[in-house]
Subunit: 371 residues, 4 copies
């Protein structure tokens, strides 16, 4: 049962004990020696709270708005591939849990459940679709089309993955998608297995073979030309690229290091967030963040620094692994409770009130070497 | 016996081995993953002493004054709830030990011994009463009345606990106050048990149900209107709130993170002390501090930075657990000896002489991430 | 087999398990308590990447130029002595692997294979010769002559080793070169064994006995007078000496702490690199770096900070120990792949594009004390 | 045998395994939780070397001068009490070893061998006498007289020990000087045993009972009035006291935390050295340092920062414990060799050349909390 699991770390530890080695390694790993993986979490600890007292906190609302529409929660589920390795109901269970809690759900291009099935499973969830652009632009166009038709309300273009980073465990495992699963959106369209050719990770080979690594900013224009949905760019870590995103008409950006899975020793997303927020303040481009979040207090800090929304990747996977839809619901519920308690004990009653005055940001952020 | 216990850490370790799991977890825990709990102690280590030599230190006095009256010692016992779980004589033994040593004793609203009994057990102790304001203001008013009549000389209003923070161990334990004990001040008045409803910590549920989370600064005025006793605000961590405390007529404030039990990743009390002392210097509002103190040298540093008095919570509980009144007496005696030795070896002979010249405060305080 | 070895650390760990104690200690050790050894690696972790997105990275070239000639790779193999202890084919295998990969290979004066044999084994490799100046200048002159004739294209004069540093393990082991091996370049010329006299390391005794510790900058002039080859100075750690190197006509310098084997608590080479690069920018003197590199990302950082080329010492030795030529080839291949991936994921397609904009250098570099 | 012991740490580890618990605890302990003990060592690691190359280092001399006379070595043996617990020949063996090596030897007032015997055992050693001022000034005067007559050339007045600090292990052990030993200088003069009364450390009780804790700067004048020997003040940690030492005619000061045995969380001596050196530069008062030195490289750094001489306490005790006179000789020999090698590899040939240009001092020194 899930009863003894009282924090996200509990879910993670349970998942680590229960998942089979290859899927676990796939979910858990970061690039290289995983310094940035540790760093991403670590950064949240280095931000200190500045709680205010004697404020009336009898009411506390987590409501916010995103992409111009009201949202129940200021956080959501980041896109993660291959969720049916964690639980038979995979992406559908995850989306349904998000729906129950009122969290935004982002579906990965590399879903093991077709877009349409996930949409049907969670009709009322706010759903965004994460897009990888395939060399075959016909395939890509069709994918965007299907997402739009299935009721997804935004396209999240991942920009930090022209190829996949080296995750040593996957290389060692010669990771392959289990044969009973497939990259479900491409069945009958293009390659939908991820079998390793025998020299390394099958998922890396899949990506190297099919995705378009020649993408540039003009492809953002192309994407906008083929869909009416707002386009969000996921995987930005520099102020310079944040500015370019604004200039190229992105409705939002997700400050992210792809779960520290691409290249090791990149900074923690939280660490670059202040500078990016500063640059995009007052513009039409919303700023979100993901990576390393495992408590509601972490979400409070992301918002205080200026993120409109925070996303969690692995925590939802751990929830899925521990108890399918119910597991994810509990994970999201814990984050919600912890965020509400952090707000209450900080003296704020609503998301809009949370700002930089409630946190203390370190002057020197990181010391990866200690990790 | 207590003979082998030569420092507060020894008492802590003994208590950790002897207390039953649920009470121990209750006493020991901090909020969340306990980064701030470690940080609170850690901060004291980062302040360095600047000992002066060739001063006549043949005499060394620990006398000071607090709230306008002379005090034997510059430190006291912080309010901690439910002390009879640690020792049958609980709050009475603790208060008697404080009386023997000449330390100020603060009794918790959530005492397992009634106000009047504690007062009777330690008639000559300097006693302050820690107040939680109940939704039922009649109950609250009555409590203040009783404290005043029982000879308590100040009301310490805890302002950092509109609700209680999440302490994972208590949640896991579904912590309940053992049935043979009660929240003694409320017997026959309002709810006096702390039985968990089965989903989490009984003490958190008790607080969520009974305490008033709509408190604001105007309630300080209300409290002052119902008692002649000086009002001290406990749980302040920002310069802004310290200023408001002064403005609203607090006789003193305790810079405190509630033993790091409310929300994790708040700064160490010692770390925010310099700024607060600076702001209240020369005003009518005295500044005290608690959290993380475990040696007499720690107390020296708190005083050097500007605290008029330092309080210890858990150390007294460990004393109680190891040997009742005698245990607390030894703990307080160790702190007294260590403070005197630190003074002697720093070249100061009285509390008034201790100032910022005797310590070196780090420019960058904390790195929670390493904890 | 080498199949399970997917990163340089894997090679290191395998070598640690397979090499005999004395050779292993010799290869592995740093001076003293090895703080600088850890520091050298650590420094690379403290530099953060700043990856740029939406750049066309479908092509990625590692080509560069060094000493005025094109080079296949921006990294090479640093000179390490006594390689036949690691593998029977020693220096020849190492050089052949460098040739296969297109890496510059630097042969040590203290080779266990004669200059001429190494040259013959790897005719097409770009080979430089590392020189120790012997008290006997005739011997030295002859050595330089032979290198030049054998097709080595530069003389790398090691300037940080008038004597050898204390490596405690070697002292304990009374390290001697195994009797079936010799300092092959000196057979029949001068002493070619390294037998310990029984009080400490035989290699230290050899160096103390034969090398000239009276070398000064005028000996650089002498060296230039006896050879047409460009002279590179290896072992510079200060801006002051970098300037002197330029002034005395060095074609390049290797910023290096000799693998942290000379004196402990010197800074990491990477840490002093920015200042030195700054000083030599735009001059005729190229700047290279070695020490602590174990991933392709490390190489990317060295280049970004301004090194024209980076060298690896121990990684090649571990490759040799694990699989001779094939082992070194795989090590160099891993570094190449990792560098290419780091470039791709940073948004750069060629070595020339890599610059300071792609990294974040810490303001405070090192904290050896934590190591 | 001593053969396998190649660095001071080896001696320490051997001593830790061979000494009986009570003496070992006495020698090893620092005050409190020993943060400053670790800090003292740690500080040396944080200073980085800046080695210069291509200097003629064929000659390297360790000669220096101290108190106006030439000295063979720039380091010596700090006074440590009760040396016959470590080896039957105690102080005599230690002094003889110092004589052999040419190191200054400081004898403790609390010697287990009489002044005269130590002097006789090491007639040619440079010997200084460490003085504790007893309440009984007659006893004190007599002691100074005897030292002067026995050929000691300076009085080292310890100013940081009006009482002794709390060393928890000694308290637990109720440490007593073994009955076959005595505080040899006082036999028949005043109390010469150190038997614990049963509540704590006998050495602390001895000191509390006999030493004069009313000492002030005027007692320095008194001391100077009763002896022609130069007076050195040992135990200074602030710039302010260094200035007062100069003003009161001290011939030298030892920047020292008494081996971190007095009060915990004082800074490392090395850390306060730069400020003190700066203040006394060019005056008649020499500056020495002790505490935490365990390699010749540490000594190089102390000199580079401006100490005229560095002293080692425990390293000599470990030498004594491992092999009496021979053990100390080897320890001092290791330090000498390591210092010479550090000089050679830094490009300096004499003590006078060593200066601040050869080291890099951290801007932020300490982080005791990590220790
Ligand atoms: C197992 C796994 C699979 C992922 N798959 C995708 C993906 O298909 N598309 C994508 O844009 N990001 C993907 N990510 C990155 C996540 O969207 C997100 O950036 C990251 O997980 C956030 O860090 P966290 O796991 O610490 O919360 C994946 C991450 C993980 C851990
Ligand atoms: C077991 C426990 C119970 C506590 N109960 C109360 C309480 O009833 N009221 C209150 O104001 N503070 C309470 N506190 C906080 C203490 O008054 C004090 O702020 C804290 O213990 C100081 O930190 P220390 O334990 O490190 O000395 C409690 C703390 C502990 C550890
Ligand atoms: C086992 C070993 C032997 C070495 N021998 C030499 C040598 O003969 N000549 C020289 O200039 N440097 C020598 N070095 C230093 C290397 O050229 C290089 O500076 C160092 O290994 C770089 O650090 P790394 O091992 O971390 O890559 C040696 C290093 C090692 C580890
Ligand atoms: C066992 C021991 C006994 C000591 N006894 C004395 C003493 O009698 N007088 C004194 O001035 N300092 C005494 N000291 C302090 C030393 O003189 C010196 O300051 C210290 O040992 C230096 O630190 P180190 O041990 O790290 O080298 C003693 C230190 C130790 C470790």
């Amino acid at each position: 049962g899930l009863e003894g699991l009282v924090c996200v770390k509990d879910f993670e530890e349970r998942a680590l004990r229960t998942l089979a080695k290859h899927p676990l390694d796939y979910y858990q790993s970061g690039a290289g020696h995983e310094h940035s993986l540790r760093l991403a979490k670590d950064a949240y600890l280095r931000v200190k709270l500045k709680p205010r007292v004697l404020r009336d906190v009898s009411n506390c609302s987590l409501k916010t708005s995103v992409l111009g529409r009201p949202a129940t929660l200021p956080f959501g589920v980041a896109p993660t591939a291959l969720q049916r390795m964690a639980h038979p109901e995979g992406e559908s269970a995850n989306a349904r849990a998000a729906q129950t809690r009122g969290a935004v759900f982002i579906l990965s291009t590399l879903s093991t459940t077709p877009i349409e099935d996930v949409a049907a499973a969670a009709l009322d969830a706010r759903k965004w679709f994460q897009l990888y652009i395939y060399k075959d632009r016909g395939v890509t166009r069709q994918l965007v089309q299907r997402a739009q038709e299935a009721g997804f309300e935004a396209i999240v273009l991942t920009v930090d993955a022209p190829i996949f980073g080296i995750r040593y465990a996957d290389t060692r495992n010669k990771f392959s998608l289990p044969p009973h699963l497939e990259v479900a959106n491409f069945k009958g369209i293009t390659r939908s297995d991820m079998t390793s050719s025998g020299t390394g990770s099958g998922v890396n080979e899949y990506v190297a073979g099919l995705l378009d690594r020649s993408l540039t900013w003009k492809d953002v224009a192309w994407l906008k030309s083929i869909t009416q949905l707002p386009v969000i760019l996921k995987g930005i870590l520099t102020v310079e690229d944040a500015e370019l995103a604004l200039k190229h008409g992105a409705a939002g950006i997700i400050v992210s290091s792809h779960g520290a899975r691409q290249v090791d020793t990149v900074p923690a997303p939280l660490e670059v967030l202040p500078g990016i927020v500063e640059k995009l303040k007052g513009t039409s481009c919303e700023v979100y963040v993901d990576g390393g979040i495992s408590t509601g207090t972490d979400i409070f800090k992301a918002i205080a620094i200026g993120a409109r929304m925070a996303f969690v990747g692995r925590p939802a996977v751990w929830g899925l692994a521990c108890g399918g839809q119910q597991g994810v619901e509990k994970v999201l519920g814990i984050l919600e409770d912890e965020l509400r308690i952090t707000m209450t004990l900080s003296g704020v009653g609503s998301i809009e009130e949370i700002n930089r005055d409630y946190v203390d940001i370190p002057s020197v952020w990181t010391s990866a070497s200690k990790l």
